[in-house]
């Protein structure tokens, strides 16, 4: 029996076949030649789904919230993409987000766990493609969970239409340094674990921060939740819907998606260049620029400049 064609896989995934969708996601995750074909095929049909990012500190309750959100969305085919870091040493990963989701979601929710697979920046390069595949398969909404530490939050926001930032009581002390960054990416704030003391204090902190720093037409609302009990999740979903309609009416959705695709292309160029750079370095012989660096005849910077000029011929030559 020959393996199914890409078209067959897409058709079957669209009809709700979990296994076909699972396969397609593996293909984009591998980032090989097939990935490019899958991505291209998916891109044709993508653009329908709402993409919601959920980020926040480790253990803040992202998975619990995400599972509950999928349930209250009332959507026919919600999907969750749960991303965890790969170990930089071994490349392995423990993907444990499903534990906190399984009990709450219906069987029509498609959950995929993804490891970052050692790509710098924290977010797997395959995430935009994975979202694209889920979208093309007819899933909606698509909720992307990522651990937010420092810079990663910004990357998540780049992948989503609506970004939900989850904090917990006492968060203020923990992320003191990056408050500005949070403010920039959050469309909605959640204070989760509201069953704990001082959830209101946390909300007050956020209000204060928004009073000082918020710009533009949209002021991020703050929702208190106790995700384990499902409390506040309906409110959170309403705020997400309100933000979705804001995105539509303001024209911001088009701008965001346009920005997102541009930065994806830029990321790809960067990756491709890096890859080519490594290959050039590997192919270098003793008489090459690299050899001259070894013999201290040429500085690494000068060698790089030479090689770069060879890589991109129309690189304007220096005066």
């Amino acid at each position: 029996m020959s393996p199914p064609s890409l078209d067959e896989l897409f058709e079957s995934a669209r009809a709700g076949n979990r296994r076909s969708l699972g396969r397609l996601l593996t293909m984009v995750e591998r980032q090989d030649d097939n990935a490019a074909k899958v991505s291209e095929r998916a891109h044709r049909d993508a653009g329908q789904a709402r993409v919601i990012g959920v980020t926040g500190a480790p253990g803040s309750g992202k998975s619990t919230i995400t599972g509950r959100l999928a349930a209250v969305s009332g959507a026919e085919r919600p999907a969750i993409l749960a991303i965890d870091p790969s170990s930089p040493l071994t490349g392995g990963a423990i993907l444990g987000d499903r534990i906190r989701m399984d009990n709450n979601v219906s069987s029509s929710t498609f959950i995929r766990s993804m490891a970052t697979r050692g790509h710098a920046g924290g977010l797997a390069v395959a995430v935009p493609d994975a979202v694209r595949v889920l979208d093309a398969a007819g899933c909606d909404p698509i909720i992307v969970e990522t651990v937010g530490v420092g810079q990663v939050e910004v990357t998540v926001a780049a992948a989503a239409d609506t970004t939900v930032v989850v904090v917990t009581p006492g968060w203020g002390d923990a992320v003191q340094a990056n408050k500005a960054g949070l403010l920039e990416v959050a469309d909605i704030f959640v204070v989760n674990k509201a069953d704990r003391p001082d959830a209101r204090g946390a909300r007050r902190d956020l209000e204060l921060m928004l009073d000082l720093g918020h710009r533009g037409e949209w002021r991020a609302p703050i929702v208190l939740t106790t995700a384990t009990e499902g409390e506040g999740i309906d409110d959170l979903w309403s705020e997400i819907e309100r933000h979705t309609s804001f995105l539509h009416h303001s024209g911001e959705l088009i701008r965001r998606r346009c920005r997102r695709r541009r930065s994806e292309v830029a990321d790809r160029i960067e990756l491709g260049l890096r890859d080519r750079a490594l290959r050039i370095i590997e192919a270098q012989s003793g008489e090459s620029a690299l050899g001259r660096v070894e013999r201290h005849e040429l500085s690494p910077a000068a060698a790089a400049e030479q090689l770069l000029a060879a890589l991109i011929p129309d690189n304007p030559p220096e005066e």
């Binding site: 393996p3 979990r18 293909m27 090989d32 071994t90 392995g92 990963a93 499903r98 995929r112 766990s113």
Partner: protein, 148 residues
């Protein structure tokens, strides 16, 4: 489409990490061993999809499909292995998944052959070393089982 694997010229990893679904079936609450195994496999470079306690054959099959897993690992400590393990193997067959099932935990020596006969790829017990665990999982995946 001619092939679905093949090494990528763009990726710096030599081979794709194995994806392993780890779970406990039913009401058996002994999850310490499963957690140890999860870390062991991660440290061996695998991606572990940890489902934890109280799973059913259906929930495991669904997870395998969504996660496109290469292997299922179950941990059993409540003397239910003779019923539950073959049931898992059967569920995998019915879903046409073609993934091997590896078992660990408390399995009396005389039951091991029975489980292997029923289609379980490997059975490990208390004291299994990290090397044993990794080797069993790798072997289960590479052994020609019902083709994926």
């Amino acid at each position: 489409m001619s092939e679905t694997s093949g090494t990528s010229p763009l990726s710096s990893v030599d081979s794709e990490p194995l994806r392993v679904v780890l779970a406990k079936l039913g009401f058996d609450g002994h999850d310490r061993g499963l957690k140890v195994v999860a870390r062991t496999l991660r440290d061996a470079g695998m991606e572990v999809i940890y489902l934890g306690l109280r799973q059913t054959t259906d929930s495991i099959v669904a997870a395998c499909e969504q996660e496109d897993a290469d292997v299922i690992g179950l941990s059993m400590h409540n003397a239910g292995h003779l019923t539950l393990a073959p049931r898992m193997v059967q569920a995998v067959k019915e879903a046409n998944l073609g993934v091997p099932v590896v078992i660990g935990g408390i399995v009396p020596a005389e039951d091991v052959a029975v489980l292997i006969d029923a289609g379980v790829a490997a059975v490990l017990g208390p004291g299994a070393s990290a090397e044993d665990v990794v080797a069993a999982v790798r072997a289960a995946v590479t052994r020609p089982s019902p083709a994926r």
